[in-house]
């Protein structure tokens, strides 16, 4: 909860106009269906449910996303291993760099 609030603050500092958060897979899927997102950050473990369904929904809509995890990404059994991973804890600068890469067009990367 506190980590999520910090990330919200970091994103606001970065100039994100709108930040929406979801604590469960169901809520995340509902939001992805209802709104258009520029980028997403996905916890590898959303409240105990595997977040794979969310990754699939994001990929299907072409929303770029970065994983965030406490385990360095090697715990990923299903998912998108080629997507970037932010290892917790991470610095503001790492979040900025990661999101900047995500939102650049493929040619600019």
């Amino acid at each position: 909860m506190l980590v999520l609030m910090m990330i919200e603050d970091m994103l606001a500092d970065l100039g994100c106009e709108s930040v929406t958060t979801a604590a469960t897979v169901d809520r995340a899927l509902a939001l992805i269906n209802a709104q258009v997102f520029d980028a997403a950050m996905l916890d590898m473990n959303l409240n105990g449910d595997k977040s794979h369904a969310v990754a699939e929904a994001l990929a299907a809509r072409g929303v770029p996303f970065v994983y965030s995890t406490g385990n360095g990404g090697h715990d990923m059994k299903e998912g998108y291993p080629d997507r970037p991973v932010l290892k917790k804890p991470f610095k503001f600068e790492q979040l900025v760099e990661s999101l900047t890469r995500l939102t650049l067009s493929p040619l600019e990367r």
Binding site: L2, L4, A23
Partner: protein, 354 residues
């Protein structure tokens, strides 16, 4: 040709059985021991290519699930889970050549298709002239050991996950404190207060094996350091069932109650000698999603409340953080006679009073 081969095999078989019979006569008690020991063991004919089995004890048969007649005459390699397992084949070759003294871990397959790990130890058996006539192989089932290894790896991964999440939480506590104030004393207090609240929630969850925690215990533990002074224990009333919440929700609730209590001590009912706090909750059915928790935190008798000019971190944690984490609504009302916090949150599926 096929028939002649079978005939040849059965001739071999007869020879082998005769050899084993001779063993029994020569070595009586040792053969009985080999037949009845709980360690799986076999003898192979070292004079034939591929070391066919000439003896298998009962433990070997129960380990592999085969009947004796199904294994006698077969090459040792038939046990391998993957016939082309180059590493296992190389290990077995080394074992057969007696170049290993520590045994080899090999993945094998039972008759029913299931796989199991075993340690294989192979020793040569020589006749009086010193010629290699047989191999003796024993097997130590590693299934339990492998399960324990997997369990241990899972625990380490889980521990690492929790440590990293906790470090992130600590980072966010420090980050918030430094954004809110530049006074080192204020920062120290707010960081310590939140770290200790987190620590108390961890203690509670550890006592409950990190399965769940009761709401009453969460509230009591969160408020414990705030009620020790000034007879405050007498000025607080907590009414409600010990409804169980999963660890993540319990941690969030612990932090939220710590924020409410901190505020009460600084500005609210616990900032003077008379104020009191009433905390009560009930669980009500709320079809179709199950039950919802309605919680009321009401302060009375403190100094007259004026709404803060800007919302601090504490109120954000309670109204936004907690509401989001528990997918409910949480509201703070700065009523002049005392702060009121109301929570309306879904209780976990299958939540029991406990």
């Amino acid at each position: 040709m096929a028939i002649s081969k079978i005939t040849k095999k059965s001739e071999e078989q007869k020879d082998a059985e005769a050899t084993v019979e001779k063993f029994k006569e020569d070595l009586g008690p040792f053969v009985v021991a080999a037949e009845t020991t709980r360690m799986a063991m076999v003898f192979t004919d070292a004079k034939e290519p591929d070391d066919p089995l000439i003896f298998a004890n009962d433990s070997f048969l129960s380990l592999t699930g085969y009947d004796r007649k199904e294994v006698l005459g077969k090459s040792f390699r038939f046990l391998l889970a993957h016939a082309d397992d180059a590493k296992a084949l190389a290990q077995l070759k080394t074992e057969f050549e007696s170049a290993s003294h520590s045994g080899s871990e090999v993945l094998c397959r039972r008759k029913d298709g299931s796989e199991f790990w075993t340690d294989v130890f192979i020793s040569p058996v020589r006749n009086e002239r010193g010629d290699l006539v047989q191999h003796f192989a024993s097997f130590a089932d590693l299934t339990k050991h492998k399960e324990e290894q997997a369990q241990s790896k899972m625990l380490i991964d889980e521990l690492n996950h929790r440590v990293k999440n906790t470090l992130s939480t600590v980072q966010s506590i420090v980050w918030q404190a430094l954004r809110t104030s530049s006074d080192p004393k204020v920062n120290q207090e707010s960081i310590e207060s939140r770290l200790f609240a987190l620590s108390r929630s961890h203690d509670l969850l550890t006592r409950e094996s990190w399965k769940s925690a009761g709401l009453r215990d969460v509230v009591n533990d969160a408020l414990a350091p705030f009620v020790v002074a000034d007879g405050r224990a007498e000025r607080i009333v907590i009414t409600g069932e010990n409804i169980r919440f999963p660890p993540k929700a319990a941690l969030a609730l612990g932090i939220a109650f710590n924020e409410l209590a901190t505020n009460a001590v600084k500005y609210g009912a616990f900032s003077n000698g008379e104020g009191s706090i009433l905390i009560e909750w009930t669980m009500k059915p709320s079809p179709p999603d199950g039950n919802r928790l309605f919680l009321h935190w009401q302060e009375k008798g403190g100094p007259t409340v004026t709404p803060p000019s800007r919302k601090g971190f504490g109120s954000r944690v309670i109204e936004r953080g907690l509401a989001h984490e528990l997918e409910g609504t949480v509201h703070l009302a700065y009523r002049s006679d005392g702060l009121v916090c109301t929570m309306n949150i879904p209780t976990p599926k299958g939540a029991r009073h406990g």
